[in-house]
Amino acid sequence: MDLLGFARGPALKVALAVFCLGVVWRIVGFVLLRIRRDLNKPRASALRYLGSGLLAVGTRSWPHREFIARTGPGEALGYSYHIGLFVMVLLFTPHIVFIGGLLGFTWPGLPSSFITVVSVLTLTLFLAVLFRRVTHPVIRMLSNFDDYFSWFVTMLVIVTGLAATAHLGARYETLLGLHILSFDLLLVWFPFGKLMHAFYLVPSRAINGALLARKGAVS
């Protein structure tokens, strides 16, 4: 079996299985944790504070005015590369076809040359993000293996994807095989590192918002 066949075949099958297993493990793991009973009197009705929680997902998406000067650039950088990633992953036809083959439905994509431009921009932003992590004293101090490895694993997928499109460095089928294999690695790592923020983000903001609203603090 050649590299490409292995990457799209057994490797992908195992990676998807590990991904599903891991994600469900971690979600079920935290959902079933004991919730400490709050014996205070709620300051708002359940409906209000739960609704507030959901609202918080939106309102906490951007820093308060006072903090924008300090944290704005970092946030903007983060948003930019996330948007770039979503465009690359979800609007490039070969990717759409890939997901469609797994889930059974597809959607229209964007011109492939446009995606190439977005990919190069995202790659640049990714490098900027690493630079920031390494040069900003506080962030560097807080960074651990998870931070660097998650960055590396995502970066690898982007780099191999661009190399495959540009036919750079090896024969096309080898590059495509490496790209899919790096995606397999991403899938396997996903549930066990900070990439899980994709699933945790909404629930954690909602819960924080709801708890604060219950205490009467509006965020």
Binding site: L12, A17, L32, R34, P94, V97, F98, G104, S113
Partner: protein, 370 residues
């Protein structure tokens, strides 16, 4: 046949009514196809004319004869097929008039007379199952015939994916235990001209280049001439602008297909297939599969029959017997994994709760924490 002196190709050509100038013309055209410098055509013509008539022995084993048909059914009878069929071909059991023992005698004589110098062209794979009994000629297995013929060959040209890589017979489950020629013969230079079938001009161009220079052309890692197999179909496809613009046909004969859009979503294997179909094309440059509206099936690549469905796109997942992954299979896999994950998750949450419970309600044996 002249007595004693070896006959030159130029003399043979003249006897068959091919003048020096027609030969120069043909060689100029062939040099263009081979992407050689334009002056090389005349040089090639002169070298070939002064060279002894090249001898070719053509052996067919486990094949469908498609490769020979491709070679001989040229769109218009060109000099190359004339050279190949009439002049050079000392043995081909399909084309030659002789049959049976007379034919075998012709083969043995050709191999003896040109020992060490003839080009051995092989199509079809070689089955080794049942002691080689799945493919025999004149009571001998193809394995034996091949090994004997290879001994006196200057080089072996494997025409077609079957002889180059095993092709259809080698595909799962390979009931006859078929092998490519390269797996049976290890000590002779081999050129693989793969394809199912290969383009006729690619076959004759390769033979011509070898016969003229006496050297192997530049070969890729699958021993295919880079002159013809150096680029993918995707890199030379005229529909490439549509791929770049994101315009794909979603099903055969839909609007996109009728507009000639890219066939990637329909399973085209162009990006991973190396061949000259997009440039030289078929039937004298008439068309090629993609231009006719069908996806490339990757027929010049090793093991292409076992690489999953012809109609599933290159970027799709491909596990399972048919090489396709349907949503149902994925759902089953995901569901099973998720169930296991849920159990483990519940387990870990349970352990956390247990720890918290123990911390709040220490047993009587344990000292109370301060």
């Amino acid at each position: 046949m002249t007595h004693g002196r070896v006959e030159l190709l130029g003399e043979v050509l003249l006897r068959h009514g091919i003048s020096r100038r027609s030969f120069i013309k043909y060689c100029t055209a062939a040099a263009s196809t081979l992407a050689l410098p334009p002056g090389m055509g005349a040089v090639m013509a002169e070298q070939l004319r002064q060279a002894p008539r090249p001898s070719v022995v053509y052996l067919s084993f486990q094949e469908c004869t498609g490769c020979l048909e491709s070679l001989t059914r040229s769109f218009s009878p060109t000099i190359e097929s004339l050279i190949f069929n009439t002049i050079s071909l000392d043995y081909d059991d399909t084309l030659m008039a002789a049959a049976g023992e007379a034919a075998e005698a012709a083969r043995t004589k050709a191999m003896k007379d040109s020992f060490g110098k003839y080009v051995l062209v092989v199509d079809g794979s070689v089955p080794t199952g049942a002691g080689g009994g799945y493919c025999t000629a004149g009571g001998r297995s193809s394995v034996d015939i091949l090994r004997e013929a290879a001994k006196g060959a200057a080089a072996i040209v494997c025409v077609g994916t079957c002889s180059a890589f095993g092709g259809i017979p080698l595909a799962d489950p390979n009931p006859t235990d078929a092998w490519p020629v390269g797996a049976i013969v290890g000590d002779k230079p081999i050129i693989n001209v793969s394809g199912c079938p290969p383009i006729p001009e690619v076959i004759t161009g390769t033979l011509l280049q070898f016969v003229t220079t006496g050297k192997l052309p530049d070969l890729d890692q699958h021993r295919r001439p880079k002159a013809f197999f150096g680029n993918t179909i995707h890199d030379r496809c005229y529909r490439r602008p549509f791929y770049d613009q994101g315009k794909f046909a979603k099903s055969f004969d839909d609007e996109g297909a009728r507009n000639g859009w890219c066939l990637f979503e329909l399973g085209c294997k162009g990006p991973t297939t190396y061949n000259a179909c997009a440039t030289i094309k078929w039937n004298g440059g008439t068309s090629f599969p993609i231009e006719s509206g069908h996806t490339c099936i990757g027929c010049a690549e090793p093991g292409f029959w076992d690489k999953g469905s012809v109609y599933s796109a290159l970027s799709t997942a491909a596990w399972g017997k048919s090489g396709e992954s349907r949503p149902l299979e994925v759902l089953e896999l995901g569901g099973a994994a998720a169930t296991v994950g849920a159990v483990i998750g519940a387990g870990s949450a349970g352990m956390s709760r247990l720890r918290q419970h123990r911390a709040e309600h220490p047993s009587n044996n344990e000292p109370k924490d301060g």
